[in-house]
């Protein structure tokens, strides 16, 4: 019976396979954000996605002997899985978005498209990202090239998320998870990047959180709503 067991696409090594599974997990978390209608769940999903990236960084650090990455993984875990979600949640509670105020239900209805259509469009966009990056033929010494394609797909899907949701918070989360896609890319193509640069990027993220916090507060103060559909007129 061994005659029929001729694998056409050979299995990757256990390490490459595991790394790809984690990268696919990051992408699936991104898709999961389409489905989530509650702010709390979206923040939770963002934290889980960030945690997956830290896990991948630890895997790379352990297998490729890059001790810098341990520090990066710890820092990124502390910042993106713990601090940013806490800050986001506190901010949302501060303006009453978490806690059952019915006015905030417009988050759930902020889809410009049905979830199924949005997912299909995102699949098409992700496919574009997959195959264009694969065509570039980039090779990385630390992680399989598939992870690079997947990371670009994460970035593009985050764009789709920001486009199809019409509330400020989903768009903020879309932007933050886009940064997760960028960190995944960085992990694949530049795992040996100096630590100081990586840390600078992470603090950029904190700036983004502050800016989005300000934006959400200002928008809420003016429009009494989270919906960006209210933003129809220009002010001089």
């Amino acid at each position: 019976m061994s005659g029929i067991v001729a694998a056409t696409v050979a299995a990757p090594s256990a390490l490459a396979g595991g790394a790809n599974v984690i990268a696919v997990g990051v992408l699936l978390a991104e898709f999961g954000m389409f489905r989530q209608a509650l702010l709390r769940d979206q923040v939770r999903l963002y934290a889980a996605q960030s945690a997956l990236i830290s896990v991948l960084a630890v895997v790379v650090a352990a297998t490729r002997h890059l001790p810098d990455l341990y520090a990066l993984a710890a820092l990124s875990f502390g910042l993106k899985t713990v601090i940013v979600p806490i800050v986001l949640r506190r901010m949302l509670r501060g303006i009453g978005a978490i806690g059952g105020d019915p006015r905030w239900n417009d988050i759930a209805g902020s889809h410009a498209l049905s979830v199924a259509s949005a997912v299909l469009i995102a699949i098409a966009v992700a496919a574009f990202g997959f195959f264009t990056v694969a065509a570039l033929g980039l090779r990385s010494p630390v992680l399989p090239a598939t992870a690079l394609s997947i990371s670009v797909a994460v970035v593009l899907v985050a764009f789709v998320l920001m486009i199809v949701r019409r509330d400020v918070i989903s768009q903020a989360i879309g932007f933050l998870s886009l940064e997760n896609g960028v960190s995944l890319t960085a992990l694949v193509v530049a795992a040996g990047l100096p630590l100081i640069l990586e840390i600078a990027f992470l603090f950029d993220l904190l700036v983004a959180v502050v800016v989005f916090g300000l934006l959400i507060r200002v928008h809420h103060g003016r429009a009494e709503s989270m919906s960006t559909a209210e933003l129809t007129s220009l002010q001089g």
Binding site: A7, P12, G17, V21, L120, I123
Partner: protein
């Protein structure tokens, strides 16, 4: 060394195992589900008593229904008795009739069964049965692409779409199990199975729950032995799908490598054990999630489609 069974007997045992164990697996699921809800629940053997009772009852057909109504349960049962010949139920080696059809062939026979039941439901003129038939066909059309992409994954991994080949590939090394394509395809297939067997995110399996009903609404007008055949058939379909998931994708271990009596008997026990474990998982899912609104089922199907498509993509990129 135990005596070797003749190959045709092993082949027959595949069908007999599925047919005999199927109501029991349904019984285990409803028992576990009841225990999780804090009820005592029916006996594990209850589905057998139900079927036996129905076989003793009188059969009625609605006025105006044609021979299709009465032929459909028999045709569906024939389909369900054919599929176990094609898939690895008990053995790791392919049995002679196992090469009659590949995964797609088995899928076609299963959809033929579902088609004849739907036609019979339309033939009754009963609104509920027709509603169920039309919904089953509509959502079936949405889940069909998922199955196709799962088959593509199998074809890319093994170079063939014989279920025996994939099972052998999965057994061959640990690298074949952690590869993303395999995990994604198995997860997508599991979601399709939840849909096909009418389990929770899609449909409540127990009780006559009017508007949300899909599969369960179709045999509304059947009675007596015909209804028994349909019930038995849907239990067999469930066990067939579980067998495909377990013996081809998730856990192709415990199968008989030789036709010796002991190893075949062990394989029967192993299959029933694995199916019961999967049934417990399904019962836990049944109790942990709410039923989706009918128009949200497309989201469920889109999720399964996403997993299957990503599996094919990662394979094409060479990293699957």
């Amino acid at each position: 060394m135990s005596p070797a069974l003749p190959i045709p007997v092993v082949q027959l045992l595949q069908v007999v195992t599925i047919a005999a164990a199927a109501p029991g697996v349904s019984g285990v699921i409803s028992r576990v589900e009841a225990r999780l809800q804090g009820r005592r629940g029916p006996r594990v053997l209850q589905p057998y008593y139900d079927i036996a009772k129905l076989f003793c009852k009188e059969a009625l057909a609605p006025i105006g229904s044609s021979w299709v109504f009465l032929a459909a349960p028999l045709a569906a049962m024939t389909c369900y008795l054919t599929v176990p010949l094609l898939i690895p139920v008990l053995t790791t080696f392919g049995l002679p009739l196992g090469y009659m059809g590949d995964i797609l062939g088995g899928g076609f026979i299963l959809s033929l069964a579902s088609f004849v039941v739907a036609v019979a439901a339309l033939d009754t003129g009963s609104p509920y049965a027709q509603l169920g038939a039309s919904r089953a066909k509509t959502f079936g059309a949405i889940t069909e692409p998922v199955v196709l992409f799962v088959v593509f994954t199998v074809a890319l991994v093994t170079g063939t779409d014989l279920p025996y080949a994939l099972a052998a590939t999965v057994r061959s090394s640990a690298g074949q199990i952690v590869r993303p394509a395999h995990l994604l395809a198995a997860a997508a297939l599991f979601m399709v199975i939840l849909y096909e067997t009418g389990r929770i995110p899609v449909e409540t399996h127990t009780g006559t729950n009017e508007f949300g009903m899909i599969e369960e609404a179709r045999p509304f007008e059947h009675s007596g032995p015909y209804f028994a055949l349909l019930k038995w058939g849907s239990a067999m379909k469930q066990l067939i799908l579980y067998t495909i998931l377990l013996n081809v994708f998730v856990a192709p271990w415990g199968l008989a490598a030789t036709p010796s009596l002991v190893s075949v008997l062990l394989a029967i026990v192993a299959l029933i054990g694995k199916a019961a474990v999967l049934g417990v998982v399904v019962a836990v899912i049944d109790n942990s999630f709410a039923k989706l609104r009918l128009f949200k089922i497309t989201e469920f199907a889109a999720g399964a489609f996403l997993l299957a498509v990503l599996g094919v993509f990662t394979l094409y990129l060479g990293g699957g």
